[in-house]
Symmetry: D2
Amino acid sequence: MPKMKAAIFVEPGRIVLDEKPIPDVGPLDALVRITMTTICGTDVHILKGEYPVPKGLTIGHEPVGVIEKLGSEVKGYWEGQRVVAGAITPSGHSNACLSGCWAQDGVGTAHGWKPIGGWKFGNTIDGCQAEYVRVPDAMANLAPIPDGLEDEQVLMCPDIMSTGFGGAESGGIRIGDAVAVFAQGPIGLCATAGAKLCGATTIIAVDKVPERLAAARRLGADHVIDFSSADPVQEIMRLTDGRGVDVAIEALGTQKTFESCLRVLRPGGTLSSLGVYSSDLTIPLDAFAAGLGDHRIVTTLCPGGKERMRRLMSVIASGRVDLRPMVTHRFKLDQIEQAYDLFANQRDGVLKVAITP
Amino acid sequence: MPKMKAAIFVEPGRIVLDEKPIPDVGPLDALVRITMTTICGTDVHILKGEYPVPKGLTIGHEPVGVIEKLGSEVKGYWEGQRVVAGAITPSGHSNACLSGCWAQDGVGTAHGWKPIGGWKFGNTIDGCQAEYVRVPDAMANLAPIPDGLEDEQVLMCPDIMSTGFGGAESGGIRIGDAVAVFAQGPIGLCATAGAKLCGATTIIAVDKVPERLAAARRLGADHVIDFSSADPVQEIMRLTDGRGVDVAIEALGTQKTFESCLRVLRPGGTLSSLGVYSSDLTIPLDAFAAGLGDHRIVTTLCPGGKERMRRLMSVIASGRVDLRPMVTHRFKLDQIEQAYDLFANQRDGVLKVAITP
Amino acid sequence: MPKMKAAIFVEPGRIVLDEKPIPDVGPLDALVRITMTTICGTDVHILKGEYPVPKGLTIGHEPVGVIEKLGSEVKGYWEGQRVVAGAITPSGHSNACLSGCWAQDGVGTAHGWKPIGGWKFGNTIDGCQAEYVRVPDAMANLAPIPDGLEDEQVLMCPDIMSTGFGGAESGGIRIGDAVAVFAQGPIGLCATAGAKLCGATTIIAVDKVPERLAAARRLGADHVIDFSSADPVQEIMRLTDGRGVDVAIEALGTQKTFESCLRVLRPGGTLSSLGVYSSDLTIPLDAFAAGLGDHRIVTTLCPGGKERMRRLMSVIASGRVDLRPMVTHRFKLDQIEQAYDLFANQRDGVLKVAITP
Amino acid sequence: MPKMKAAIFVEPGRIVLDEKPIPDVGPLDALVRITMTTICGTDVHILKGEYPVPKGLTIGHEPVGVIEKLGSEVKGYWEGQRVVAGAITPSGHSNACLSGCWAQDGVGTAHGWKPIGGWKFGNTIDGCQAEYVRVPDAMANLAPIPDGLEDEQVLMCPDIMSTGFGGAESGGIRIGDAVAVFAQGPIGLCATAGAKLCGATTIIAVDKVPERLAAARRLGADHVIDFSSADPVQEIMRLTDGRGVDVAIEALGTQKTFESCLRVLRPGGTLSSLGVYSSDLTIPLDAFAAGLGDHRIVTTLCPGGKERMRRLMSVIASGRVDLRPMVTHRFKLDQIEQAYDLFANQRDGVLKVAITP
């Protein structure tokens, strides 16, 4: 039984590179040889034991690679084809999927819905920080990489770009909107870029790291606010002449940013929440107009599936957005424990790392 | 200067019937002689001092009446015409109105938006628990009563029906949806009726008052849950085979009902909130899938304006819904202090009172 | 190789009952033993040679039955389970499906889209006017029949009800809308019922057959117009005080009805088209306000997939709508040629026939 | 009674500059001194007698100017303020307006709807190719020009930009869409720019004039097709790998372009029509998939009102789009007859003219 290297969750605090058998493929699966992957903030939650996964699981949900083997029932692809798959891999045939709610895919449940059920890689099945990954429901999930695009150009598509753009889309951003984006980590930066692509004309990015604020400007922010030196709520209200923004995007996952989003919304505005929270949230009565402000709060789990990947790669191919500058560090798979150390501790101005087996 | 009787807010705990001058009309106003009005739960908040209004203000925002006088610039109406106006009276010309966000009408502000700004009657201008009321922006707000409809048939249109139906509409209820409605007071009952009109096929109504649960059944509930004898969250999950509802409507304004709504939502579901809250709200982490459940929380302030009133009266005229049974008690305007006493204390099975000058 | 009876397209003018092998099932398929099916107007188009299908194909796309055999990869069902499948059987994994456009499923094409590609039964693969049918992509398409519902109660779900309701839904019908439905055949009657379920309060049904107009009244029409004795455009404009309807539903497939829909639309209204047309259509300049009327024309192919079927059966189970009266005649499969003769010639007041093997 | 110069429709073929009294203002009006305006293709239709208007009417519906005088009831503005008003000037208070359908404003009708009723300037009331214009419902229609923007920068906002962008918005363009825009006159160029602002990543512009195709590239087209040397339908199908576009925008008003739009749509796609047609349209059966392709056809009349103008000017102010290059020729009001001659005959590469009194 041939072996491969994989980053495995051992226990809270320990993700290690170890050997595992190369996965078999069932009739609907594909085996993909990973050519590039990355580490996500969620993986750090897993590392820290804040998000529980089974011991022994291979971590990672952002695969770029080459088809190594196709299940007997998989049609329309060929071995050797360059592909990405989304972090979320919907079956396509659950009741949730057939309702257009692919990320909450409840395949295997009696009624077809499961919270966060579309997220399988590195959560409920082995992930892609490895030499190979088994992709379930391959026909729903494998998206060919357009000719001319390199791995690093599409590395953000599976999760970061899909999630960040999803925040802009779910917020219903329209031409001429004012939008605030709280936190300019990888997801927030993509939300900023997504807001611009949706037609927002006053985009206000909030963070405290100068490199991130500079990146936000490059990706579309019209104004940046360093929250360590100015109160972002006051600043945003000033920039919008006291009206507030049409859409506020939360891209961190804290009470502080969630609440600030509410405080800068105009009446009838939308809070688009992307963060993974780790404690209960409070909605302040005043910021919520006692429930009478026609506010909306929407949450978005990273949209997946091959059509989503196709669309995102078309954004890259069109040159509308270039996310390569987000890759600040590069590692071999053999060095992945170092990569986790750097990324988890946010050292050296790291935004995203590229991992190549 | 001719006088009229009016229910006036004196101080917390005291709304009294007193005399006031009959209002003048400006060029865009109309003077309406009230033929029937009612008391709203919000008026009780005002009475108790929980929602502040200026001392001396006439209370009441649910007018049914006859046009007594038209401002010089008001066209398309005649004196003697029977009309209703919504609780919310948008100007039609603020930036909020021209964005389709009429209830947050910011007429008079620099940027055109104001939280809850469309609610003027009995809040920022004199209301309609009186013999006469001045209706601002009459051309945007006066809706003729169709022939054949009596005052009591349209009495719920200005607020209760518009708000309750609005909860169903904002929830995006579709044919075949499962919907839970928490609390079956007047607003909740109308939300139940609205859910049925939108095509929901599993409607679950929660309350503890037997008469209200019976009324809920008549208006469309397929299942009723008495929360004093069963846990509504468990019951709703059982009734939906563990899946949860597509839309949960909050019609009370408490943490308990808000939280229960979240707990019975399927992934990707919508919490449609109608309640007027009086303290901060908590979103429990687990019920919110840590922010990853594709949930939506939407709030709705009573939609107003004459087109909304026209539509609601067409619902009544078509016989789709009969809300007359909601009027359980009738009073003369002279007895309004008694009416407040009965209604504020929820005595004698009161749902809504009709007040006739 | 075991045989079964099946209604087979031989050549234009001839659909005959003949013997065929019982189909095999592939890994993702299910074999369903038909317990009830029906004939659709589209089948008559096929019979007449107006819609081309391969010679030798089994006709029929409205299956109600029992699972006889499951493919090796099909999970979550059991043999002996009562099920329906939609007329449209999306794969769930094409780009069209993953865009929410299941009826245009382009599985097998390079880009994943194909016009009308979701319609397979009796069109591109063998259909269900037979003792058995092979259901492709079974996990996306088999919907268990709720306990207590009989075959005849759910017989309209696969096509007629899904299409008719789809016309109301695609039209964006809202509470208080005025809606006209042109033609009250099976699809039109379901559009009328769907309009009511969506909250329309002025529903105007047009036909000339008294039984159909009577059925329209029972299913929700507030007004009926016999076009053989009155001009429906004039009547509808009169009934709407010269304004026109918010939504007009075309349920026949002719220039006359299509054009009449446009002529009764208010500015900004929506023409929801369900008909299968057999020649080019003309949009009259005046009825289209020269392109400046903010009109919308939307077309809807019968929505399919198991979640759609689940929702429609929940409508039946809730008692909101009873479509059994639409079945006016019953035949054994052995008599299907007689059934075609009756149905194709619209004799004896036939609306829909039930066929039982 | 003071006089002013105005371009007046005399009879088909003759628009002349003549003298007229400076208009009075009613309580809700404003008098605006025009500082810049332009000629629209619709004005040429009027000139040619193809679109009938009353003899003696002042033509023009694209005003940029300064408030000269305010009606007695107009609040929130000051004399001397720089403003634009949209080509469409909704009242804000008709049933159409209160339905969000401002362009079909039926103020003055019994039911509140009128086809194209929001277009008043140079159609049903005197327009703005004059020294002064009376703006009705001033509070709904006057939008202050942001500091720093010159007249020529905002000259496209009242009509061309609002219409062109409206075509992209009504088409429901989303991130990653493929979009074709047929005709690259001023409206089509703005539709191209709007498609980019909405996130389209494959924008294909069709025209035959090299300057217009070059302008299309600058405003966002990824591909341009000269229809005089290539078949645009074939080319677009090739560029989309045989799939077709998600949205096709018609920006000319002919059968040929309308039909080509249908022919390049993917199943489930949207034809967004902006053209003013002058004869009946034909929908070819095959391009329409016999009514079963889930196609949508939407038409858009230029959105108006001050909030729309505010949003469009924010697009300009943000630098997202620069439409100044569209002004190819400049004239004094005294020379407007020459300007009409140039523009109506499309001489000298004219795109838009600027007229300054």
